[in-house]
């Protein structure tokens, strides 16, 4: 018998009840709603089944059992920074004093919220080398959008309307070109050199007075630090563009190097990566964006400000590019962020990045004789290897290898990304893994490399102990069934 229960859709568990189990009976007169709403009224009950509480709780608990998560083991998804999420931070975000505040409350009634955000902004400034932050962006890609809108607002404010292009390296996350396009820009791709970093000749050729800016992550998606970074940012500045730092890989450099010092004008955070707020199966996150003095006037509204001893939301920002969501930001997530930064301090964050780079480097050294590593230069918090050797020898590809890893009790790394490496396996262990955890993961990968030689079917048939295996994704996309 499988250790996983079948979980039919919630709609198949229908029972019947009267009204809500949870709210008190109506204690004011009930109007005639058909008369009140007229034509807009819809007669009858919504098309949603009633289900008893124990069945609902069992349903979702049985569903949860089918998920892998950080609290059962290593989750080495490259570029995703799946680190441990401290328990206490959940308690902090759930405090009634925070959770039960309404976004439209007058400033004088939410001084605690505003003081927290005001202080958090200063902490983020210190780590990035920027002078201000906005909390509006709801996630990393939303932060990228805010960053590019800052750059756009700057050029427009100066009447420099000819700049219609954003430069993006070929190793960039897909969100970078997608963001530039959303902001109305053309995308010009520059190539990576033989070391996996930005090719300066290709960059030189891409420059011109049509360039609005550059989007770059450093270390890049291969985990490689670009030693030319100050040269790159000054080349962009010299042609009149601005530089946006994609903070996806901030976990590698905190307190070691700062985007502001590298010459970047703005930067976004993924607090759900670097600052340990939980990923929640795909959100909520938060993507605060920092910028220097040059871009401050264009920050979205509102920003958190202080006058005398009172904190307030400042909406009076004539040069602001506007808003990209309602209210101040994903507040509940930012409480967790704040608690995490306080717990670490500068020394802690320094060691967080040191640990992240050390763990990744250790794994890479343990695996380099068993898997092909395309760029043989020291990498930082993540590294990319491939299945090239296995594919040649036994026909086992990246997908087979990582599916076999599931049999050994691990979540697979990020695969087939970055696109500049074929059959990529991108590994980011994070600093919250122990030496023992890293060895267990390395041992599993090494065992799989041996299995690929001796018994490739072990890989091709994986995974074996999961609720399902190798779903038909082509059929799913061809004739989509999206609701039940």
């Amino acid at each position: 018998m499988s250790r996983y229960k079948d979980t039919p859709l919630i709609f198949e568990l229908a029972t019947c009840h009267e009204g809500s189990r949870y709210i008190r009976p109506l204690d004011v007169p009930k109007p005639d709603f058909a008369e009140w709403f007229g034509d807009a009224y819809r007669e009858g009950k919504p098309n949603i089944p009633d289900v008893d509480e124990v069945s609902v709780v069992r349903h979702f608990t049985n569903l949860s059992a089918k998920n892998y998560h950080v609290e059962v083991g290593t989750y080495p998804l490259g570029s995703c920074t799946m680190k441990y999420n401290p328990k206490v931070n959940e308690d902090m975000a759930a405090l009634t004093g925070f959770a039960a505040t309404h976004p439209m409350q007058p400033d004088e009634t939410v001084q605690g919220n505003l003081e927290m955000l005001y202080h958090l902004e200063k902490l983020l400034n210190d780590v990035t080398g920027m002078t201000a932050h906005t909390f509006q962006p709801a996630a990393g890609a939303h932060g990228e959008f805010a960053g590019i809108l800052l750059i756009k607002a700057y050029h427009e404010d100066r009447g420099d309307m000819k700049r219609d292009t954003i430069i993006v390296p070929d190793a960039a996350h897909g969100t970078n070109p997608a963001t530039a396009a959303m902001a109305g820009y053309k995308v010009r791709e520059v190539k990576s050199n033989e070391y996996g970093t930005v090719d300066l000749e290709s960059l030189e050729a891409a420059l011109g007075d049509d360039v609005a800016g550059l989007m770059l992550t450093n270390p890049n998606t291969l985990g490689l630090y670009d030693g030319n970074i100050e040269k790159i940012t000054s080349m962009i500045h010299e042609c009149g563009g601005l530089c946006y730092y994609d903070g996806a890989n901030m976990n590698a450099i905190m307190m070691h190097a700062r985007p502001g010092d590298m010459g970047f004008d703005c930067v976004h955070w993924n607090v759900h990566k670097t600052l340990s707020t939980p990923h929640g199966g795909g959100g909520p996150g938060a993507g605060p964006v920092g910028c220097n003095k040059l871009l401050e006037p264009y920050l979205p509204r509102p920003i958190v400000a202080k006058k005398d001893d009172m904190y307030y939301l400042d909406y009076d920002r004539p040069k602001s590019f506007g808003m990209i969501r309602s209210f101040v930001g994903t507040f509940g997530v930012l409480v967790r962020t704040y608690a995490y930064m306080l717990t670490n301090g500068a020394e802690g964050l320094y060691e967080v990045s040191e640990g992240a780079v050390a763990n990744s480097t250790y794994l890479r050294e343990r695996l380099k004789d068993y898997y092909h590593i395309p760029y043989d230069t020291p990498s930082m918090h993540e590294f990319v290897m491939t299945s090239e050797w296995q594919k040649k020898e036994s026909g086992c590809n990246t997908l087979d290898i990582v599916k076999r890893l599931i049999d050994y009790g691990f979540h697979p790394p990020t695969v087939y990304f970055p696109l500049v490496v074929s059959e990529a396996i991108m590994i980011e262990p994070t600093e919250t893994e122990t030496w023992r955890d890293l060895d267990a993961l390395a041992d599993a990968f090494i065992k799989i490399a041996e299995e690929a030689k001796e018994d490739p079917e072990l890989l091709k048939g994986a995974p074996r102990y999961t609720p399902i295996a190798r779903p038909d994704e082509t059929a799913a996309a061809r004739d989509p069934i999206l609701a039940g």
Partner: protein
């Protein structure tokens, strides 16, 4: 060891030495000129705090707020305080939901994926539209995404948006549209607070967008929207509150093409404005143009029913600059919380919540307007929120300040002399009576009569 790090520096040093790497040279790839040289930071302390100290510090900040458990609060304007059954937070705090990533590896993410699928199913049932995605950041950015979708579909760069939508939603739509080079024409609501006048020029607008109930609480005429939009070959888009859809005509039944909205009202804590979640539902025709994650049902190699992320050819990691959006996040945990809320409440519970909210809003409005100090600004049906105008001589700022002394956070002041008041099922008759009594007493004291 510091904070949550499982290894100290010495162990790290030994670990690296065992594979021939020197800890002190680990960051040598960063040139000297890039190194962070700050001696003392402006705000970041050198040393971290212990957990006990963090808890005390953060709790003290939380205590400085006036919260809506202690205070009787009448604010809405897009965020509504509906009751969340205890079971919701117990389930979403399970680390299986809380600490997992976007479900790229279907074999070990079926829990999250089926939750996505059930969320999409609930949204289609509430809206009457056949296709829903896994979620967007919030209603405001969702409205912007809806407008971009319409422009992609119609290949036009002009949209019509009602002035009755939430002002921050409007500003968000304007920001996104400005960036993408789309012109936004803003409509005025009529004397009844409804959007009844629409452009009549054919083939010019990609879409007409309204909100219902709108910013003033008024229920809009979806049939009129659809008739006017389709007559000029524009898409009909509505931002609709999901709780209201328990008793109001569903967008899909009226022929609306795209429905979006804020699903925070499905029992998610107000938490100073986030996290919430935007939903999006569309017609079948628009399916492949939708932004965001989409979960689909399929079978595995043994023919077993299962769920995967699907129609990914729309998304940024494949399509890059030609993607439908740059969005990756679907607010998954919040979608799961809202899904569990709907499962626990069921159709009966949802209807009860909606009816009680409306009944109590009507009860309070009648009490306030009967006094003569206030009158309804718009004489059309509202759902759980209404706009009243104060008589000359009533100072609403002073009134709200005085109410704070009585542990009441009053309605939202709009244009200086109007109040936007939201009521949910959580209010008791006693609370409503007390609020009305205090308002009228304070008006008397201001000498407004």
């Amino acid at each position: 060891m510091i904070g949550y790090l499982p290894m100290g520096r010495e162990e790290r040093r030994r670990m690296l030495a065992s594979v021939g790497v020197d800890l002190d040279k680990l960051f040598d790839m960063i040139p000297e000129c890039d190194r962070c040289m700050v001696d003392e930071y402006e705000a970041l302390p050198d040393k971290g705090m212990k957990e006990m100290e963090v808890v005390e510090h953060v709790q003290a900040l939380a205590d400085k707020n006036l919260n809506t458990v202690k205070y009787d609060c009448y604010l809405g304007a897009g965020y509504y305080d509906h009751y969340q059954p205890s079971a919701v937070k117990h389930i979403i705090n399970r680390s299986e939901f809380l600490t997992s990533y976007t479900p790229y590896q279907a074999e070990i993410s079926q829990g999250t994926l089926q939750a996505y699928f059930e969320w999409q199913s609930y949204i289609t049932r509430l809206t009457g539209l056949p296709i829903a995605n896994a979620g967007l950041y919030d209603a405001a950015s969702g409205a912007a995404e809806a407008v971009l979708l319409a422009c992609r579909d119609k290949r036009r760069y002009k949209v019509f948006v009602s002035g009755g939508i939430h002002p921050e939603t409007l500003e968000t739509v304007q920001t996104y549209c400005h960036a993408a080079g789309i012109e936004v024409v803003i409509g005025d609501v009529d004397e009844n607070g409804q959007q009844t006048v629409y452009p009549d020029k054919k083939n010019e607008f990609a879409c007409f967008m309204i909100q219902s109930p709108n910013y003033f609480g008024i229920v809009e005429d979806l049939d009129l929207l659809v008739a006017k939009a389709h007559a000029v070959n524009a898409l009909a888009v509505v931002s609709a509150d999901p709780v209201s859809l328990a008793m109001l005509k569903r967008p899909g039944d009226a022929g609306v093409d795209v429905a979006i909205g804020e699903a925070q009202s499905l029992g998610i804590p107000t938490s100073y404005g986030g996290p919430g979640i935007g939903y999006m539902a569309v017609t079948k025709k628009l399916m492949r143009k939708m932004p965001g994650r989409i979960c689909g049902q399929t079978v595995d190699r043994d023919g077993k029913t299962c769920y995967v992320l699907t129609i990914q050819a729309r998304e940024q990691h494949i399509r890059r600059e030609r993607a439908t959006s740059n969005i990756c996040t679907s607010q998954a945990l919040i979608a799961t919380a809202a899904t569990i809320w709907l499962a626990l409440q069921g159709g009966s519970g949802l209807l009860d919540v909606a009816e009680q909210s409306a009944a109590k809003a009507i009860y309070l409005e009648k009490k306030l307007t009967a006094s003569g100090y206030f009158k309804l600004v718009y004489d059309k049906p509202y759902f759980r929120e209404f706009l009243i105008e104060a008589k000359d001589g009533v100072d609403l700022e002073k009134l709200n300040k005085a109410l704070l002394e009585e542990n009441i956070i009053g309605g939202l002041i709009v244009d200086g002399n109007k109040l936007l008041i939201a009521v949910t099922e959580k209010k008791t008759k006693d609370q409503l009576d007390r609020y009305a009594e205090a308002m009228l007493r304070l008006c008397d004291a201001q000498g407004g009569k």
